[in-house]
């Protein structure tokens, strides 16, 4: 009797598992189709950066890369084609992963890495977010080592064909159903609209000052793994003899890294960049053309269209002078 019950349970469990696997594959197949048929939005940008980008200038970084560099302006002034592979919320490990895959396909003339000192701080989310590489792992095995940063069992989880699209459903649905209302990117560049106001900046200064007092006693050093990713990024460029510019783009305050207790990480970026002869380090965080200019910022972290166009012009002139 007892054995019959166990066998009955096991048979039903096996049958249910088969149904589940079938449904998972079906849904996974549909999501894959939708994902790789995206024509707008950040998924399509990532797919393009990974599989197709062959421009002379490749830009890497996080949201500040996506929002601050206009390839049209840079191309117009420098005479070189340009693509912005940055992605919102992603940091140096992601930049290194995308750079590695890009360089295996194409060697650009120049690489721009937009980096913020925050990226070298201790923050496990920068690794968790590497899960956005999951849809590409089937085609690009090089990404497996990066997704292992998300969790130890990440490669095994890929047995599920739906899992690579985890947390993407809303964006996929939005970009597919309302593609007309989704803002089109200009070679990966997506400027932010709107402008900050003076009271907003004053309020921000006040909050940052309070915050700085609170976090001043934190003496955490830069995270070794993140530093290694930065070095790996620069090593990859150096190995391929690619001129590289490591850029800290403008901030609304001229002492943002001091208030955020990140001067150590900022100096470390400069020091590491200085170890490579092919690398130029540019820090615009104290540039008076941007500091305390709310009309050039959409929010406290990002330039708006006006600010990013002005900044892109400055960068393009630097490129023209250096190349």
């Amino acid at each position: 009797m007892k054995n019959n019950l166990v066998i009955r349970f096991l048979i039903r469990l096996a049958a249910f598992s088969l149904v589940l696997i079938a449904v998972d594959r079906l849904v996974g197949f549909a999501l894959k189709k939708i994902y790789f048929n995206q024509r707008v939005g950040q998924f399509s940008q990532t797919t393009y950066a990974i599989d197709s980008a062959r421009q002379d200038i490749m830009i890497f970084g996080s949201s500040r890369a996506v929002r601050h560099y206009s390839p049209t302006i840079i191309s117009g002034i420098s005479g070189l084609s340009c693509y912005d592979s940055g992605r919102d919320g992603l940091m140096i490990p992601y930049s290194t992963a995308i750079e590695e895959i890009s360089l295996s396909r194409h060697i650009p003339k120049l690489i721009l890495l937009d980096i913020s000192p925050r990226e070298l701080g201790i923050d496990k989310t920068k690794y968790e977010k590497l899960s956005i590489l999951l849809p590409y792992c089937e085609e690009h095995q090089q990404f497996i080592k990066y997704i292992k940063e998300v969790s130890r069992y990440e490669p095994e989880k890929l047995f599920s064909k739906t899992y690579p699209y985890n947390s993407s459903a809303f964006i996929l649905a939005n970009n597919s159903l309302f593609s007309k209302s989704v803002e089109k990117d200009d070679n990966g560049y997506l400027p932010l609209r709107g402008a900050m106001t003076k009271p907003e900046v004053e309020d921000y200064i006040k909050r940052m000052t309070v915050r700085s007092k609170r976090i001043r006693q934190n003496t955490e050093l830069a995270e070794a793994k993140a530093v290694n990713y930065l070095k790996q990024f620069l090593d990859n460029a150096a190995k391929n003899k690619i001129k590289t510019m490591v850029i800290i783009s403008p901030t609304i305050l001229n002492n943002a890294f001091y208030l955020d207790n990140q001067t150590l990480e900022r100096d470390l970026i400069e020091k590491i960049a200085g170890e490579y002869p092919n690398v130029t380090f540019l820090d615009f965080s104290t540039d008076p053309r941007f500091n305390y200019h709310p009309e050039k910022f959409a929010d406290v972290f990002h330039l708006n269209k006006q600010g990013s166009e002005e900044f892109s012009t400055i960068i393009a002139q630097q490129i023209k002078a250096n190349l």
Binding site: K2, L5, V6, R8, F9, F16, V19, L20, V23, D24, V27, L31, D88, G89, E128, S131, V150, S151, R152, Y153, E156, K157, S160, T162, Y163, Y165, N166, S167, S168, A169, F170, I171, N174, R207, M208, V210, R211, R214
Partner: protein, 475 residues
């Protein structure tokens, strides 16, 4: 070991199979060994602390039962309680107390010579300490026979499904079950697995999704305006419920698959229409622990008005202290104490629910909304890293900016809102229509399997798989 990890899934499958395969007399050995392994997956050395309290309480139970002199019985009980609370004090409260002594002495320009302990708090210490204490108290009261089998007693304290975050069980419920010959039950197995699935859903799809937004706000209390803080605080109220009740569902479900019946810990607390009702529905095993071992011994409600209010307040204050060595928890407990005292005071003057259906429903909705608001306000203290942060958040609550922060993209925020809506629909159904739309147990196989497969896929598509540990593990 975290329930929401791949390691746990392997562990659970192996332990459950072994449990049913081995002869009855060895089942406790399997469960005890598995529980030790489960606990040692966190910090192995801390198993010794558990071992220490187990030895003390095991012998205390036997000595108390054998002792007929009331004074000596009381002395033995006190010794056992002091040992348990002493360990809890050393690991959980010593550094906090020392810090306060430090601050006080500094004010008078004295140096505090007592060094700080460089130790981590063992996971779930408060839970198994309370469970162990309930054993010696029940033996002392004569409600429970002392357990002579050391292995069975150890398993009572260490039973892995409820070892690190409860439910805080009573010996009368668990000890007899550890001796029963549990046979494989198809019904219990499937009902337990479904309960675990629902627990995983609450943890991965709701709690961990909401935590992304909550963390981004609460980790930067100075940076946000009132609308954002209000949203984050409400999200936290839902997050902590789904996190903790999700854990409990997995624990109860996991135990049920092996034939064990653990006590209920939650009963849809956000449908409570007053603060007393809330505490009858929230963390029931802890509330009843405090009721049975603190509130009633203090005189409960059978004492004069003022004393009763004081008793109520003390219970909630202790509940706050139980949660952690931080003023935030103490204030949280005091707030709930205050709410409860005020409720008892005004209860005789409250209007009864009108007979008119619509008016009654509206009144009930209003009461639920008020209860949620009070509870959510108290959660601000619970979630904030310090009292300073909590007051900063409360101060900033007044500044309603034009643009609320929505966190890391619209997608995450939208998924958070969807998760809350889903939870509400499901809880509403269970609260008001418990017999209807039970798809998980529908006699129609397509509906049953379809709903189960849909839930699992929903977890895969919308779950957060790197959300980390359960909030209550830290206690």
């Amino acid at each position: 070991m975290l329930f929401n990890s791949i390691d746990f899934i392997f562990f659970y499958i192996i332990v459950t199979i072994l449990y049913f395969v081995v002869p009855h007399k060895l089942k406790w050995v399997i469960l005890l060994a598995a529980s030790c392994y489960f606990y040692m997956a966190f910090v192995p050395i801390y198993i010794l602390i558990l071992g220490f309290t187990i030895v003390i309480d095991y012998f205390a139970g036997i000595y108390i039962e054998n002792e007929h002199n009331p004074r000596r019985r009381k002395l033995l009980l006190t010794a056992s309680l002091v040992a348990n609370i002493g360990i809890l004090f050393v690991f959980k409260y010593f550094n906090f107390l020392n810090l306060n002594v430090d601050i006080l002495l500094n004010k008078f320009n004295y140096h505090n010579p007592i060094p700080y302990l460089t130790i981590l708090l063992p996971i779930g210490l408060s839970f198994h300490t309370f469970q162990a204490m309930s054993y010696t108290i029940e033996v002392y009261r004569g409600n429970q026979k002392a357990e002579r089998h050391f292995g069975i007693y150890s398993l009572y304290v260490m039973f892995y499904p409820q070892l690190v975050a409860g439910p805080i069980e009573r010996p009368q419920n668990v000890l007899p079950q550890l001796r029963i010959r549990h046979k494989f039950s198809y019904d219990l197995m499937q009902s337990g697995l479904k309960m675990m699935l629902w627990g995983f859903f609450k943890k991965l799809v709701i709690a961990d999704r909401l935590s992304i937004f909550v963390n981004s706000v609460y980790n930067n209390p100075d940076m946000h305006n009132g609308t954002t803080i209000a949203i984050a605080s409400f999200f936290f109220a839902i997050q902590i419920y789904c996190d903790f009740s999700g854990y409990t569902d997995i624990a109860i479900g996991c135990a049920r698959t092996m034939g064990f019946d653990l006590m209920r810990n939650f009963n849809r607390p956000y449908f409570a229409s007053n603060i007393q009702d809330f505490w009858r529905r929230w963390h029931i095993s802890l509330s009843t622990w405090f009721r049975d071992y603190v509130y009633i011994p203090l005189g409960g409600s059978k004492v004069s008005g003022k004393r009763r209010y004081l008793n109520l307040f003390i219970v909630f204050l202790l509940s706050g202290v139980w949660h952690g060595a931080n003023y935030t928890y103490i204030v949280w407990g005091m707030l709930h104490g205050l709410y409860s005292v005020v409720y008892v005071l005004i209860k005789p003057y409250l209007r009864k629910t009108p007979e008119n259906k619509i008016a009654g429903a509206l009144m009930r909705m209003g009461n639920i909304a008020l209860t949620i608001s009070l509870v959510t306000f108290a959660w601000i203290f619970f979630r904030a890293a310090s009292l300073h942060d909590a007051f900063t958040l409360i101060r900033n609550l007044k500044s309603f900016g034009a643009r609320p922060f929505i966190g890391d993209g619209v997608s995450n925020f939208a998924q958070s809102v969807l998760a809350i809506v889903l939870l509400f629909i499901l809880e509403y159904k269970i609260e008001y229509y418990p017999e209807k739309f039970n798809f998980f147990s529908s006699p129609n196989v397509i509906l049953r399997w379809g709903s189960l497969a849909f839930t699992i896929l929903w977890i895969i598509v919308f779950g957060v798989f790197n959300g980390g540990q359960f909030i209550y593990f830290q206690f």
